[in-house]
Symmetry: C2
Subunit: 190 residues, 2 copies
């Protein structure tokens, strides 16, 4: 077998969670999409749906981190690097027909009051992405406090812009966010 059944389940669950959220995605649908049977899903994830979701979110988190790292490294100047991130998100979103947004937001919002592990996994994801941006700024000579605040701001703005872009079926919000974030980052440069 090319890819293991377990991996196929995680990848399928990740994509479905990204598109339909946690409540909107059924275990049976995950099994079908992964070309696995229900028995296999519960064999690899005895904890049930929530366990599958946590694994899927962690997978998506790592995948998005790689994408973010690549976009940040594609430009020397930090302001241009941030714009490149927005540009990259806009491209992928448009190509997916506006369906593949942030891989964790939908699941996070649905499980907020339920103190499941999902919320923690999403919090870890956001924190990690903020750190990636902050690290880039640190490498560019930004003071620690500014880098940290800007890291948070960049991820928040991209998050919101991606949602807005999806709802409006337009990449403009992401492009605007990219421009304004670049201006903001530039306002710090000495």
């Amino acid at each position: 077998m090319q890819t293991s059944t377990r991996d196929r389940i995680v990848v399928a669950a990740a994509r479905l969670l990204q598109r339909q959220g946690y409540v909107g995605t059924g275990i049976k649908q995950i099994a079908q999409e992964a070309q696995a049977t229900l028995g296999s899903v519960y064999h690899f994830f005895p904890g049930g749906k929530e366990t599958v979701a946590v694994a899927a979110i962690r997978h998506s988190t790592e995948e998005f981190s790689a994408l973010l790292r690549k976009a940040l490294d594609s430009e020397e100047d930090p302001a241009e690097a941030v714009t490149a991130c927005a540009r990259q998100l806009a491209d992928e979103l448009r190509e997916s027909g506006w369906t593949d947004g942030c891989p964790v937001t939908a699941a996070a919002l649905e499980t907020l009051g339920t103190d499941s592990e999902i919320q923690q996994a999403c919090a870890d994801a956001l924190r990690g992405w903020e750190q990636l941006v902050a690290d880039k700024l640190l490498r560019c000579g930004f003071p620690a406090e500014s880098a940290r605040e800007l890291g948070t701001m960049v991820i928040c703005a991209l998050e919101g812009a991606e949602v807005t872009a999806q709802v409006n079926r337009s990449e403009e919000p992401l492009l605007v966010a990219g421009r304004q974030l670049a201006r903001l980052v530039g306002s710090y440069e000495v």
Copy 2:
């Protein structure tokens, strides 16, 4: 009767949608929360769940618009006005126990690929809020193009910051966004 049954249904649906999203909220739950019966819900909303949701989202949209208008008018200086918005959101979010976030985001994300009226209602909401911010900036003498872009950016950043704040159960993302948005707005002033 103090409030009409129809209004109680809309208000209850609005709150539930805000907290659990569209898929996670059941018609029977809405009826129960509204102190109405299933028959009443389908009497006032023959279109079913989606019709209720659209009415609820429109209600939430107007409610949030009023809140935004008030926060924007509370400060003369546009940068401080934007910060006041973030501050206001942070206060309400903390007081609700991190459950009452943006009233449309969750529902919007869950119904993206389903071409329902819900998506359009959410798009209208976001557009209206952006316009409120843009209007404030126009009144402060900003050029039309800058006001429009900043309006989009402010709403996107607040949107993302609110989600991040909810997931992390901390108001810090909203406070950071408020500060950075103020800096961004300030960078335009002549």
